[in-house]
């Protein structure tokens, strides 16, 4: 448990750094962005909303930086992320509507990509030197393509040319959102193409990593031993794979950040109503409170996912647990 404690400490520290960066950026950048922003807003939004925005940046500039910092953190803990300038409603309300879509999309595609990549990587590593090795350069190519570009190409080919998948949005516009069967079915149908494109972009990394570990593990004596014992081929591969998968899981927490970054842009290509799409609109309209709110929420979500991956890793690798006893 000491290890989990240490990781937790790290993530709390990271969250604190992210929050502080978020606070300091607008204060340190040349040209005083906050004043410009508030000046621009006069007359556009209600005085209460301006006050909320001012508070979400830590209050007026007449106070000291430190006191502003504490006001800012206090506001955060009360859930005040400011008011979106373009949508003129609280950032937290806007995020509540779009976060579930993103978590669903990215969660499902990350899991799928990890499973497919690990299994195929294990097989590739086991059959090294065979024709299947031709997959490696192909996989490398897919890995090098930016997520959003692959998504664009898939949208063009399978969405607008072949009409195999519905495009743009997360559900049919004729349906009312809710937990009804037609709506859920439509949501799944609309998620297919984005999920496939995220999986295609991210699967190669898992595959290559697993292949390399599999080659290393296949050289170990216990693999030779399990063959000598007459275990079936499937069991031997499973034994080797179970040991080779550990580094992949250890890397899971690092990879989540990268996958999330890539997947945000896939949302944008498909007009998926998640956080990524919101982020683009916020950037284009210079909606600073919204940009910052999204950054914080994404960071916290990624940290939570990291913690989860760490727990899984601890459960799977007994060596890490003996360390805590010693």
């Amino acid at each position: 448990m000491r290890i989990i404690g240490r990781r937790l400490l790290l993530y709390v520290l990271t969250a604190w750094v992210a929050i502080s960066v978020n606070f300091l950026l607008p204060h340190l950048m040349p040209g005083n962005p906050i004043q410009t922003l508030i000046g621009k807003l006069q007359g556009q939004v209600t005085p209460q909303e301006i006050e909320a925005i001012r508070l979400s940046f830590g209050g007026g500039i007449d106070k000291g930086l430190l006191s502003q910092y504490f006001t800012y953190i206090d506001q955060l803990f009360h859930g005040n992320l400011g008011v979106s300038i373009t949508l003129s409603s609280p950032v937290s309300t806007i995020l509540k509507a779009s976060v579930p879509w993103t978590i669903g999309l990215i969660g499902v595609s990350t899991l799928l990509s990890f499973l497919i990549g690990t299994v195929s990587g294990a097989l590739l590593g086991w059959t090294r030197g065979s024709r299947l090795d031709a997959l490696i350069p192909t996989a490398t190519f897919f890995q090098a393509i930016p997520y959003f570009f692959l998504a664009t190409v898939m949208l063009l080919i399978f969405g607008s040319n072949l009409h195999w998948f519905p495009v743009l949005g997360a559900y049919s516009q004729n349906l009312h959102p809710g937990w009804t069967w037609p709506f859920v079915a439509s949501a799944f149908r609309y998620a297919e193409l984005p999920v496939v494109s995220i999986v295609l972009s991210s699967v190669a990394g898992w595959m290559l990593g697993m292949r390399n570990m599999m080659i290393t593990v296949a050289a170990e004596d216990f693999v030779l031993m399990s063959v000598a014992m007459g275990l079936s081929k499937r069991k031997v591969i499973m034994t080797a794979a179970r040991n080779a998968v550990l580094p992949s899981i250890a890397n899971l927490s690092l990879a989540i950040g990268l996958v999330v970054s890539g997947a945000l842009l896939v949302e944008l290509v498909f007009n998926y109503p998640g956080v990524g799409d919101l982020l683009l609109n916020a950037v284009q309209n210079e909606d600073y409170p919204l940009i910052q709110g999204i950054f914080l929420v994404i960071t916290l979500a990624v940290l939570a996912a990291n913690l989860l991956a760490d727990v899984v890793y601890l459960a799977l690798d007994p060596r890490t647990r003996t360390e805590t006893v010693a």
Binding site: M29, G129, F141, I215, L279, V302
Partner: protein, 323 residues
């Protein structure tokens, strides 16, 4: 070192060719472009033809010229970011691994924090606060990207430094009284060369992705042509849905090709560090000529030394092969 022991596998040669081609494009691209990328005097939405190899945009600009001109900004920014990030990760990694103690704790914590913060959202927040005139500055953008891309390298370099710290030659340097920074950067660092090179390739690859992404969402100046701005305009004018594939496919393919080239080179470095991967990457014909079994399933994957690759002195081999 007498001979260069870089593995001569087809993967590495292909990687070198691709990267070499794009380096040439970076240098000469803007001179080779037939038209100005801003020239809007052509008919809009032309499909690829002899006059316009990649067609024209809906504003009537020549896409081939944009692709050629765009190579420079894309690769220069990625190179700046990659170099700065690698330098940062080298200094942080070696200092953490060699000095140890509180320095190590602090620096490791710092790199772990940077690893845990998702890079792209952080980049977007920083970049959206940059004044507009610095968004067109390759150096500023490169530095901002490097800030989010150094941590992984630092971690790898730290681990390797720790395994080198107690080797005899480092000990010897310490005993004859070399200064600490000299031991760190003249004794330890040269032995990290393969890892540094791989880290450089990796960060350049990351930086291309990051820069193109920033440009794609409109966070770099649109007055500077790069492959990301091309994609930005293509997306903004709904090219994917109206079927103008020739607008966004060329920059996308270029990005993917550069990335593939860098990744293939990285394979070469991996095989250099871990000789077992070298044997695993051989084709059937090569295996036969080296007298290896056609298929290797069990037991140790053999370490391949061809005549040109055989290490000249045991000392070098033992330094570079350990992982």
């Amino acid at each position: 070192m007498k001979s260069i022991r870089f593995p001569r596998s087809p993967k590495v040669i292909l990687g070198l060719c691709i990267v070499g081609f794009f380096v040439l494009l970076t240098i000469f691209g803007p001179y080779l472009a037939p038209y100005s990328p801003d020239n809007t005097s052509f008919a809009p939405n032309l499909t690829p033809s002899a006059h316009h190899w990649f067609g024209t945009t809906s504003l009537g600009q020549d896409i081939f010229s944009q692709t050629l001109v765009g190579a420079r900004a894309t690769i220069v920014v990625a190179l700046i970011a990659g170099l700065v990030a690698t330098l940062l990760s080298m200094v942080v990694g070696i200092a953490a691994g060699y000095v140890g103690g509180f320095t190590d704790d602090g620096l490791s914590m710092l790199s772990n924090v940077f690893l845990a913060i998702p890079g792209l959202p952080l980049l977007i927040v920083i970049d959206s606060y940059l004044p507009v005139n610095s968004r067109s500055n390759s150096l500023v953008i490169g530095l901002v990207i490097s800030l989010t891309g150094w941590a992984w390298g630092a971690r790898v370099i730290r681990a390797q430094t720790m395994s080198l710290r107690n080797r005899d030659f480092v000990e010897a340097a310490r005993i004859i009284g070399e200064k600490r920074y000299r031991v760190m950067f003249f004794e330890v660092a040269p032995n990290l060369l393969p890892i540094l090179a791989s880290s450089l390739l990796f960060t350049v690859l990351y930086s291309i992705g990051a820069y193109v992404t920033l440009a794609y969402i409109g966070l770099t100046s649109t007055s500077v042509w790069n492959w990301g701005t091309m994609l930005f305009w293509a997306q903004g004018n709904n090219a994917p849905l109206s079927g103008e594939w020739y607008w966004f496919v060329p920059p996308g393919i270029c990005i993917a090709l550069v990335g593939t080239g860098l990744a293939l080179l990285n394979f070469g470095i991996d095989e250099f560090i871990n000789p077992r991967l070298r044997a695993a990457g051989l084709s059937a014909k090569q295996r036969r000529s080296l007298g290896l079994p056609r298929r290797q399933r069990l037991g140790l994957t053999p370490v391949v030394h061809s005549a040109s690759q055989r290490p000249s002195t045991p000392a070098i081999a033992s330094n570079t092969v350990s992982t």
